[in-house]
Amino acid sequence: MQLKDRITQGLESGWKVTDGATLTGNRTLEADVVIIGTGAGGGTTAEILAKSGLAVILVEEGRLYYQKDFKMDELSAYPSLYQEGMSRVSKDGAIAILQGRCVGGSTTVNWTSSFRTPDVTLNYWTERFGLDALAPDAMAPWFDGREQRHSMEPWAAEPNVNNDILRQGCDRLGYSWHVIPRNVKGCWNLGYCGVGCPTNAKQGALLTTVPGALDNDAHLIHGLRADKLVMDQDRIDHLQASALTADGITPSGVTVTLKARHFVAAASAIGTPGLLLRSGIPDPHNRIGKRSFIHPVNACVAEMPEKVEPFYGAPQSIYSDHFNFSGGVDGPAGYKLEVPPLHPAMASGIIPGHGDTQINNMARLPWMSSIIALLRDGFHPDSPGGTIGLRDDGSPYLDYPVTDYLWDGLRRAFHTMAEIQFAAGAKRVHPMHLDSNWYTNWADAKSAIDQLPMERHRVRLFTAHQMGGCGMGANPEESVVNGFGEHHHVSNLSVHDASIFPTSIGANPQLSVYALSARNSARLANQLKT
């Protein structure tokens, strides 16, 4: 019964959970392993290491939110559960970055899509980065294991209308589509995955691996910001961290020193490179924070003749990979097609506008449908990715130049999305671009999209998938960690999150992070126990 609240029970049973806001004096803590981050990577690592008998401390900058806090309300959820209160953007402001910041990380707020790393991607890594041990056959058991751990199954219920439009449009045009596997157990099909699952159905890190670690005596400290890994000669000696007050933002002045034999960075593809850069971790080839990938996303909305109610129902259940690998793995930019949920705040943030135009658009929300295209970046020489850097205050930023190669893919994606929407019966279609209008037929939309200037800010761009920045590879001159997430130069440092991907994935990344972290943690547990 999914209403049994795992977190309340655990807290009552004596889990070691500390809210950084309650700390009143500086202190030093010690463990076998300190893990920074509690998302897909950190949670998996914590559970596996704790179950093997190692003493584990989990450090989370965000706060612990769970069922009691998940009230299906955008305005309370976005500020508390997302990085920078949902205002995170790329350095030039042109790309909105959706990323979790809470216990469970992005798995607490994602839309539950659970894809294996495509074989094409794994084979490309093998050939291009010398990652032979990550070939599809070798990875298959790890995907199997994580699919079971997180209850991942293709969505068995009917897709909601929003997703069904993608399915119908693809069907009519002869484009392939498939059902999305979701990590849910007893899902109520409500549609509020993005603001914290209200029914405990979502099997993200918050309700699986983090409780699994805490059941095995791991210590979770949330509201604690990892400032710096401090080296002693060639090893990390300790992590320096700052406690935050109950607002989750303001440092209280209390510092915590965390000593351990081994450190695992799992703070996301923006957070981990930021932490390593702040710490001055040895980087002889200047690789930390390079090759940062985001699956750049553009969107197209449509007004349908029948009600869509895009705010209700499992947000993502249908996808199309028809255009994802069709140009070859390193050909013209490919894109995966999915659907976003549209609640009022999200919709009003995605659709750029003001005044009469905006309210007329918003008034049609119940009839509105949207498709998003996720571009596969990092596979072509003209898609080298972005860079993670540090602001004056030490916080990380993403600088992501959109290259002509990607603009070409984004324009083709606009075409495809509009074509599919008209094929599914759309009355009118509106690409998310400052110079676009509503178009009432495919021919008009087609010629308009051909003319749209593909420029920063004018094309509305998003990312919900941050990857790379501490890429893995056999050659230390072009990577930060090896194929097991072990740092090339610091023997007691591992990276277990999406930052180790040497390219983007070409699919929503949570299962890729779970599987690689499980594989690398099993190895790490063996090493640390001997």
Partner: protein, 205 residues
């Protein structure tokens, strides 16, 4: 931060703010970084609690100037979504500005700094006139003038202005349309009642 040196360096940049340098720096997205913080000292006072609505809300980021800016912009951004009845209209605007303030508090220091530069640029008379091309101070700006300003920044070929347009409209739209009292404007009935009735977090003890 050393205020003196910041004011000096920003003043120097400010002196070079003409259309040509603007185009140059604007492409780098760095204009706000250097030019406008000079005004922070002029407008950095927080409004006293109790000046809005029932006074129970204490502003944490927006200054009195910022509040006047949004009082001028919201009628153009939200347009006919705002109630016509004067008291209800005042309440809707004030409540939206409070939610904007609360939202910005959660943006954290880095994005707050960016917004401070944007708001200061719009509030400081010289830059309001030369950069935003808004001739009157915000309390005297008409709805038509506010709309024209928004359209200029939306259609501008300067990416930085587009970015400013997106920032202003996005934080306003989210704070307005995302709020329960205005869900009906987007035909959103709210979370399904049967689920609310069944879930423990909605039951009052």
């Amino acid at each position: 931060m050393n205020n003196q040196s910041e004011i000096r360096s920003t003043s120097a940049d400010f002196a070079h703010l003409n259309r040509r340098s603007f185009l140059k720096t604007g492409l780098g997205g760095a204009l706000f970084l250097g030019t406008v913080s000079v005004t922070a000292g002029l407008s950095g006072c927080s409004p006293a609690a109790g000046t809005r609505m029932d006074g129970s809300y204490e502003f944490r980021f927006l200054t009195l100037d910022d509040i006047q800016l949004f009082e001028a912009l919201l009628p153009a951004i939200i347009g006919p979504g705002l109630p016509e009845q004067p008291q209800a209209r005042r309440m809707a605007i004030a409540g939206t500005i409070e939610r904007i303030d609360a939202g910005i508090h959660n943006f954290g220091p880095a994005n707050q700094k960016e917004l401070r530069r944007l708001f200061d640029l719009l509030n400081f008379g010289v830059t309001r006139v030369t950069v935003a091309r808004v001739w009157s101070s915000w309390p005297k700006v008409t709805n038509e003038e506010a709309d024209a300003f928004l359209k200029r920044w939306r259609t501008s070929s300067i990416g930085l202005f587009n970015n400013g347009y997106i920032a202003l409209t996005k934080i306003s739209n989210v704070a307005f349309y995302g709020y329960e009292d205005f869900w009906h404007l987007s035909g959103y009935p709210g979370p399904p009642q049967w689920a609310v009735d069944a879930l423990p977090q909605f039951q009052t003890a």
